[in-house]
């Protein structure tokens, strides 16, 4: 399958995709790196020259930085815990024999296909609104005072919203993984006298560990970049300013491009650390 002829054809056919992605990656990346070492305020004097690593240290030492890191970690961690724990349980449930399995599957997966702005608005208004939201009705029904979700429990609210979006993804992938589990293995374990709980912990869970790792990595990368859900609900107020949102504000709202770009470089490094682990797994899978 590999003559000189086909190899050179292959190179030519790959060229557009590789070239476009290379440009798409390198040009903005270089610009971000460039801005990050300059004092650049488009609305207040423009480019004021090279400042070395000052932006990087200022970004870290600014009072908004550590709270943003904390918020980011809580949101990412919360979403991961919720979507993995519930995802495993749901996947196991959906794997059981039942009537209308296909329909239930569709119901569970649907949230993933809802556009983020809709998700955020529906939750914000129809569920979390302190006067007319569904939760307010519920709380009042039980005689409690409605919670002002997006101010008083803002981070939790964001976690709930984002988890609702990503739980289907985790469930679907874990379900796929469970279904690929060789049923003979389970039967063998059963013959060996393992009860259902033991079968879950010694056979199903180890089998799922790879899928769980992948879910963790992919969701981490995407949840780190969550934007619309915050933009639409709190606009970064009430302690919901994540790193992504902080950078967005620095760059577009306060137009401090130098500082924002330094933040961007941090975000890129952070995402790459996670991505390396993901690529290891994916790469191993490519070999066979």
């Amino acid at each position: 399958m590999a003559t000189q002829h086909s190899r050179s054809a292959a190179r030519i056919m790959m060229a557009p995709a590789v070239f476009l992605l290379l440009v798409w990656m390198l040009v903005p990346l270089c610009m971000t790196l460039w801005f990050s070492v300059r004092s650049y305020l488009p609305l207040r004097g423009g480019d004021q020259g090279f400042v070395g690593l000052e932006n990087f240290s200022r970004f870290i030492t600014s009072s908004a930085f550590w709270p943003a890191v904390q918020t980011t970690l809580i949101i990412v961690g919360g979403v991961l815990v919720i979507s993995i724990v519930l995802g495993v349980l749901l996947a196991i449930l959906l794997d059981q024999p039942m009537w209308g399995q296909g329909v239930v599957r569709i119901l569970v997966i649907a949230p993933f296909f809802v556009m983020p702005t809709v998700t955020a608005l529906v939750w914000k208004n129809m569920f979390m609104d302190p006067t007319n939201g569904m939760f307010a009705h519920l709380w009042r029904f039980f005689g409690a005072d409605p919670v002002v979700w997006l101010t008083d429990a803002s981070v939790l609210s964001i976690i709930v919203i984002v988890s609702w979006q990503w739980l289907p993804f985790a469930t679907l992938i874990l379900l796929t993984a469970i279904q690929s589990l060789d049923s003979e293995q389970l039967e063998a374990a059963e013959m060996d006298g393992a009860n259902p709980v033991a079968r879950f912990f010694f056979i199903a869970l180890p089998h799922l560990s790879r899928a769980i790792t992948i879910v963790i990595l992919i969701q981490t990368i995407f949840v780190l970049a969550v934007f619309a859900e915050i933009f639409v609900t709190t606009g970064g107020a009430f302690g919901t300013r994540t790193l992504t949102y902080l950078i967005y504000q620095r760059v577009l709202e306060s137009q401090n491009v130098g500082l924002g770009s330094a933040g961007g470089v941090y975000a890129i490094i952070l995402a790459n650390i996670v991505a390396i682990f993901l690529m290891r797994i994916v790469g191993k899978n490519l070999d066979n």
């Binding site: 399958m1 590999a2 003559t3 000189q4 002829h5």
Partner: protein, 334 residues
């Protein structure tokens, strides 16, 4: 039409040289079979001729024209793959017509040739089916049909029968041989089955680790194998080899005797042994005989039925005129 020459052709995959320098001449109209154990480079050699792989060095000429640099489509060869490689989304008719469509023949001519090919191959009733709705043998015939319509200079077959069951295999073997008689076109046929090689070939090329061990007609290889490898590979059951004392008596490192060239008797003979397993086929009886002192196991073929059971003592007498002697390098001593 269909004269192919390979001159000092080599092929390496990375560091590994799969085909060391090799010369081969294939004459017009010949049915040539490449045979050899798995992994010896038969497919690689065929793909080099087809142009699906580049040669690492050397030259290939087809009908006197240098073909080394010519892409597969332009070599005027047709290939039948082991997996048939039919286009699953096209009907049989479209499959067979595909090479003609690529050659931009007009529709009328395409149809004429497809129908002619279908008739030869008994596919007329299946022209509007998809490959998925055909049996293995029918698929095989479609693949051959696709090759025929191009009227190629030579046909290349890569183990075309290995996916068929035994009975069908014998049938298709005959059909392909017949096709060769009718078309009178060069065919190069790869197999690891020496029975196919013996029954179909005008000329057999025995390959071993990329090296041509011997080229010749089936009977040449049977009667005058050049070395131990060919002797052992051609013929079924395998030739018996005896080393040691018995060989030294005949001035050889090793002697070989085919199972059908050994006489068996319950009373007397040159060598004494006990029957291990006896296989009764009705037409023949194969005996596996334990023979301490000469050779651990010896296979013997007796025509018709032979009443010997496990543990019986028998005496063997090889036909001296059919004995092969081999030297220390494994070459046959004439």
């Amino acid at each position: 039409m269909g004269h192919i020459t390979l001159k000092q052709v080599t092929k390496s995959f990375g560091e590994v040289q799969v085909i060391p320098p090799l010369d081969l001449e294939i004459n017009d109209g010949e049915f040539v079979v490449f045979v050899g154990p798995s992994g010896c480079g038969k497919s690689t050699l065929l793909r080099l001729i087809a142009g699906l792989e580049d040669v690492s060095s050397g030259e290939i000429t087809i009908d006197g024209r240098a073909a080394t640099e010519v892409p597969p489509a332009k070599r005027g060869l047709a290939m039948v793959f082991q997996s048939y490689a039919l286009y699953p989304h096209m009907t049989v008719r479209k499959n067979i017509a595909f090479p003609l469509r690529m050659a931009k023949l007009d529709i009328a001519e395409q149809n004429k040739r497809v129908e002619a090919a279908a008739k030869v191959l008994n596919l007329t009733d299946y022209l509007d089916r998809r490959p998925g709705q055909l049996s293995g043998g029918q698929r095989q015939r479609v693949a051959i049909g696709r090759a025929i319509v191009r009227e190629p200079a030579a046909f290349l077959f890569d183990e075309p029968l290995s996916n068929l069951d035994a009975a069908l295999r014998v049938n298709m073997r005959l059909e392909i041989s017949e096709l060769h008689q009718t078309l009178d076109t060069t065919m190069i046929y790869v197999t690891h089955d020496q029975v196919e090689a013996m029954t179909m070939a005008d000329k057999i090329v025995v390959l071993h680790a990329g090296v041509i061990e011997q080229v010749g007609s089936p009977l040449e290889l049977y009667h005058e194998p050049r070395n131990k490898f060919v002797a052992g590979f051609i013929g079924s059951p395998k030739m018996n080899f005896v080393e040691g004392e018995e060989a030294v008596k005949l001035n050889a490192k090793c002697i070989g005797i085919r199972p059908e060239h050994i006489g068996v008797s319950l009373e007397s003979g040159d060598w004494k042994g006990t029957v291990g397993v006896s296989e009764h086929l009705g037409s023949d009886t194969f005996l596996r005989i334990k023979m301490p002192g000469v050779q651990e196991h010896m296979t013997v073929r007796v025509g018709g039925e032979f009443g010997a059971r496990h543990g019986d003592t028998v005496y063997l007498t090889p036909d001296r005129s059919k004995l092969h002697r081999f030297d220390a390098q494994g070459l046959r001593i004439a």
